[in-house]
Symmetry: C2
Subunit: 104 residues, 2 copies
């Protein structure tokens, strides 16, 4: 419950959050897409958290139904993984979401 609360707090307080694994190419693709668009998401590398990594992955699964990485949130809303984020971008919907989430 404490970890779940902290995830909910993290995704609501940061415009863009990516739960990632450092050596995963799909996670790298999402992170570099955000950077190319000029946004610096909060990146949490699950493989750098020791035993908390797998625990956090299970909490993300409970909250979002998605166990896999990358796990992307924008403006507190769960977006999905790499393919979901890239699809949104191809439809021209990613940048508007990011600019809405980051504007004061």
């Amino acid at each position: 419950a404490r970890m779940e609360e902290s995830v909910r707090k993290t995704v609501s307080e940061n415009p863009a959050v990516v739960y990632s694994k450092t050596w995963c190419s799909y996670s790298m693709e999402v992170k570099s897409l955000f950077n190319r668009l000029g946004y610096q998401p909060l990146v949490i590398e699950l493989d750098e958290l020791g035993p908390q990594g797998p625990q956090l992955q299970k909490v993300l699964e409970r909250i979002t139904g998605q166990f896999t990485v990358p796990n992307v949130f924008i403006g507190g809303i769960h977006i999905g993984g790499c393919t979901d984020t890239v699809k949104l971008h191809h439809k021209g919907e990613l940048t508007p979401l990011l600019s809405k989430a980051t504007s004061p």
Copy 2:
């Protein structure tokens, strides 16, 4: 040296070999590209080999200079990873390589 010999034997005796990890999307992409082209590569899942997995990954790095997965061989020749294999396909060079490697 024994493991190195066994890798060299495996890649020379099978027309197409993919060293993979079961949960890696780049590995999945390469495996499904082969399947779509009608080829069944020999797939070795490094994460299902216990302690031999990381050892095999180091041997592959020594032989090919590539530590990452997927690690693809066709007709005994080292092709590279997912992006290399997909690029070859886009240039129309993958299918000829596979058909040459599989023809008697």
